[in-house]
Amino acid sequence: MAKKMHDTPNLDQLEDGPWPSFVTGLKDLAKDKDYVVDLLGQLEESYKTRKGYWKGGTVGVYGYGGGVIPRFTELKNEDGTPKFKDAAEFHTLRIMPPPGMHYDTGTLRQFCDLWEKHGSGLIAFHGQSGDIMFQGATTDNVQKAFDELNEMGFDLGGAGPAVRTSMSCVGAARCEQSCYDEAKTHRAVLNTFLDDIHRPSLPYKFKFKFSGCPNDCMNSVQRADMAVIGTWRDNIRTDEALAKKWFVKHGMDELVNDIVARCPTKTFQVKELSKIKGGEHISTVAVNDTHGIEINNQDCVRCMHCVNVMTGALAPGKDKGATVLVGGKSHLKIGGLMGTVVIPFIKLDTDEGVEQLVDFAQRTIEFFAENALEHERTGEMIERIGLTNFLDAMEIDVDPSMVNSPRMNPYVRTDGWDDEVAKINAKKQAA
């Protein structure tokens, strides 16, 4: 039995309504924990004054430099003592989840037991970087909680100027659109950088994210310094039975208005069966006895729309891999940036392919560590030095897939033009 609850008239209003309430959950915890009674007290004060009252500090676990988010209360009495003394320290452990965020109930129950013992009992599945966030422990208990989590086979994630915890989609485990083994690649890349995750010493944060197809369910293009997005090079696969089944349910209006009209490159066409052409780069499938679909895959940008709408009837090809984009980030400091294509296609279905990606990631982070300014993200660094300088350092040849269009202004010194052409021609001949 914990101490008496503080009045929380504002928070009480968040117990109304049909959506599950975190306030009700906190109150359940507060029945046994003075810690959470005072947490609710401070949170109610924030609701009243519309101000936050946590400040950072330095708390960690032995052997690591990051992964714990320290929080000390700033809500003090006049004599400097905390107004809510039992919640004066409320640190969070960031723990890296399994790829795809799969769990068995035994593991979740173990999490609950140890966090009830050492922490507040509040766990977030998951934070915006993908961590399991064990929220609320005193400085003394951080190490104890970590030791138990670590013995279970879990490890701290990133915080500060470090390689951060990564996320990958459900992927090959349960999705027909998956174009590579996201979980395997995620682990191969991240586990190469454990030192950079646990001991922050980069110019700023560096995030990897892994999405199995261009639907990019991990939001990697604008949230990751390096986004690995699955794609394929050969023809869209077709299944006539499923195509006909789809057509019976949806009909010609939907086929024309929802797919043909929405194909970004207009390569998806509906034709009478007798007019459909075959060919090396053409995918075709009948939808009924008179009409069928014809897709010229050379004009397809792998946007996923038709594959999403007619799942199974249309499917990604067999020559699968990924596109790697570098430099995505949110607003600070120069504004939001999307990732830029740096590797248009990489095969990831062999150990060698994954090793190539790991090698590229290592060289990118090495370059970032040496060349970025303090608090500068990879995308900002590339904006400052220009993409070609980055590509040069990475020993990657330029490719028109990296740009929306060639340069639109003449302000460039081109006296190396002939040499570049000679190099390109020499490479072509050697290939």
């Binding site: 915890l29 101000k51 890296m96 915006q128």
Partner: protein
Amino acid sequence: MNQAVQAAAPAQKRKPKETGVPDNKKFLHPALVKNYGDWKYHDRPRPGVLHHVAHGGDEVWSVRAGTQRQMDVHTIRKLCDIADNFAEGRVRFTIRSNIEFIVSDAAKVDPLIAELEKSGFPVGGTGNSVSMIAHTQGWLHCDIPGTDASGVVKALMDELYDEFKREEMPNRVHLSTSCCEINCGGQADIAIIVQHTKPPVINHDLVANVCERPTVVARCPVAAIRPAMVNGKPSLEIDETKCMCCGACYPPCPPMQINDPENSKLAIWVGGKNSNARGKPTFMKMVASGLPNNAPRWPEVAEVVKNIIAVYKADARPWERLADWIDRIGWPRFFEKTGLPFTKYLIDDWRGSRANLNASTHIRF
């Protein structure tokens, strides 16, 4: 770690096992292990349920339910009980903090849904629904929040509850909230982000002791901060005519308080999408600002968001994401239909902004 440091460590300290990202294979449902990388297609028998079929004929049903994300251990144990008693003991979480229960028998779906609903977890969030809001930390745990996160999300999801459980939108609707302009909530079809409207208030007594001044100066996107002596102490001063109130100086220098109960407002952004489907990924655009930070239920924000959702639902064609819909109808019509005022603050003047101006006679009348 070198030997000297190890030797110097107190005996009771345990050395971490630097194991990194755990293998997910042991957590996967057995049917997912068996058919790993071999799925053929999926459909949705009803909102909240995904049905996946493997090339070999195996089937799994995933039942998706909303959670409060910030979960107490009692709630997690309740979800585990449901997983053990009504599913097959395996769950996963989505990027939007929904939980998925995976079963290999269609007969288990309805009892599982009934138990989840009975226990207060709404089943939905699939297909063309309004999904759970991407969530930040807010007053509960962040050190620089302008507003709460869990509370805003709870208040809004109460309002959007039915749209979460149905699949009646033209396409999926992703929402996010962010409790400062750093925008940890990320890009979304509709996003709610704090927008400060006044420069930070500096406590000059604390700056010298708390802030690394060159770092703070370097952090300002518009070079509005410079070192200064104030009342005989080294401090910082702000050129208030340059300052655009982003709050970037506050994290490295908390004495530069940017949060303000009255003048920290909320803005609404629309049309962000990460997917490459149809068009390329898009950044979201600001369409409203000046909304009060009105805890505990933020009714003014909810009203604007619900209105945008309602107009989009009524007006967009099938498969048009919010950005696709606006591409078709145009921005003037978006403001007309939603009744939102188009003010001068919505014309971009940041770097690269000329690309956002209309350099054509493409105008809808």
